[in-house]
Amino acid sequence: MATDGSERARRANPRSWLLPTGFIVLLIVVWQLVTQHTHWVQPYVLPQPWDVVTRMTQDPSMLFGSFRVTLVEVIVGFAIGSLVGVLIALPIAYSPSVRNTLYPLIVASQAVPKIAIAPLLVVWLGLGWTPKLTVVALMVFFPVAMTSVQGFSSVDRNLIDLLRSVHAPPWQVFSKVRLPHALPYIFSGLKIGITLAVVGAVVGEWVGANSGLGYLLLHANSMLDTTLLYASLLLLVVMGVVLFALMEIIERVLMPWQEPEKPMPLTS
């Protein structure tokens, strides 16, 4: 169990999180000092970090209410998008003709800027939840579908032959070999997807919404209320980072055999 021990030691290594945390704290301190003690930048360009924090405590119901609205959009849209992504990956991975038929369409769907079709979605789907969830799902499904296809179809050919040689039922091959093999790939797609989901929710809210952090962002911008704008931004960043970390935790729990620092395909 030597491998397990060193792995755990590496994960628990305090330096692995001390360095990034320390760097972020340093940046914030510099930012605070510069904005507080110099007049290099105007407050409406760059407010003091402390003001942003106090703003959040002054008006918690508005900010955290908006946070909740956006969080629900992100999670529900992400769930739909990743489910569709994995499901669409199956026929693509199993059938070359389906692959050839769907691939150009999927790539084309991704080449369309979401911000450009968001108004159209509002025309089609109204002003409720649906257009926002659709934008989020559209953002999420692509990386998940791509990595899932790669995962389902990259099983060692000899292994598939081995299973063929004992006349293994296809469902067993899927559940015992293909799916667990694809999981790390799917998760790298999910991790890209969860951060894109936050972007998608904001885009969806920009086009037609009266709540949510994206809406608040736009509102604050039009009022030149930079402190509120930064407070909304901060909450969006926190949401994205926490959701991403959550995915990593789920990944490690589901796949303890997997190395934690796995290179992620499709990111650059």
Partner: protein, 260 residues
């Protein structure tokens, strides 16, 4: 033409089998008009240089590849029936273990997927035979290359196959491990099943086999079929006997002739 009446015997019967691969680069005859009979309980090596079609022949015997012409029968029945009856065990050059399964669970894989989990006692006995009982809860990443290949062997034997098909199973290992596993395989093979063993190592073929079938390249066909009359049980020491060396020389000459 060979009719079905000619293939009513026991064991593996290969009759007039050819395999043609077509690709953009052109046609390639991997195997040409091969006839081969392997009796039950016989250990037969397919020996030849790379690209002589020995792997293709092995895969056609195991039903993984369809012959372009000719027939393969197992105990007088078509290969597909033997596959359904789970008569084959495969070992490839790469162990192809599942990283998320322990040694034991990997050895259980095939029993698992065909719903015969109840036979795990045999798997434990097999792990003992291949010397891995102390490692049954380890993961493949924690094992050496030789140990991984032993797991692959246990996995192939878990179904108690009538015919064990091995495609250069030790080729990816270092020379020392390779020799040791060869000698171990002598002890593990009980004569209760036939083995078709693809290799390009002359010493390995002589050590293990009852018969060595020498194949030539382009097109792949059989050029010699040599019986190895070294009495069993054998062990590693037979390699230093004159008889062993004589077989080695003879096979080397045959292969040189094939290459010339």
């Amino acid at each position: 033409m060979t009719g079905m009446d000619a293939t009513s015997g026991q064991g593996v019967e290969v009759r007039g089998v050819s395999k043609l691969f077509e690709s953009r680069a052109g046609r390639n005859t991997a195997v040409s008009a091969v006839d081969l009979t392997i009796e039950p309980g016989q250990f037969v090596s397919l020996l030849g240089p790379s690209g002589c079609g020995k792997t293709s022949l092995l895969r056609m015997i195991g039903g993984l590849l369809e012959p372009t012409t000719g027939t393969v029968t197992i105990d007088g029945r078509p290969v597909a029936e033997a596959v359904e009856a789970r008569k084959f065990g495969f070992v490839f050059q790469d162990p192809t273990l599942l990283p998320w399964r322990t040694v034991r669970a990997n050895a259980m894989l095939l029993l698992d997927v065909i719903g015969r989990q109840s036979e795990q006692a045999r798997v434990d006995a097999l792990l003992q035979t291949v010397g891995l009982s102390n490692f049954s809860n380890h993961y493949p990443a924690q094992l050496s290359g030789g140990m991984r290949q032993r797991v692959a062997l246990a996995r192939a034997l878990a179904l108690d196959p009538e015919i064990l098909l091995m495609d250069e199973p030790f080729a990816a290992l270092d020379a020392i491990t390779r020799e040791r596993l060869g000698v171990e395989l002598l002890g593990i093979w009980d004569g209760a099943r036939s083995v078709v063993f693809v290799t390009h190592s002359i010493a390995e073929a002589v050590l293990l086999s009852d018969r060595v079938v020498v194949m030539s390249t382009s097109p792949g066909r059989i050029v010699a079929d040599i019986a190895i009359d070294i009495p069993r049980p054998r062990n590693g020491s037979v390699r230093s006997t004159d008889a062993f060396k004589a077989y080695e020389d003879r096979l080397r000459d045959l292969i040189e002739g094939v290459r010339a």
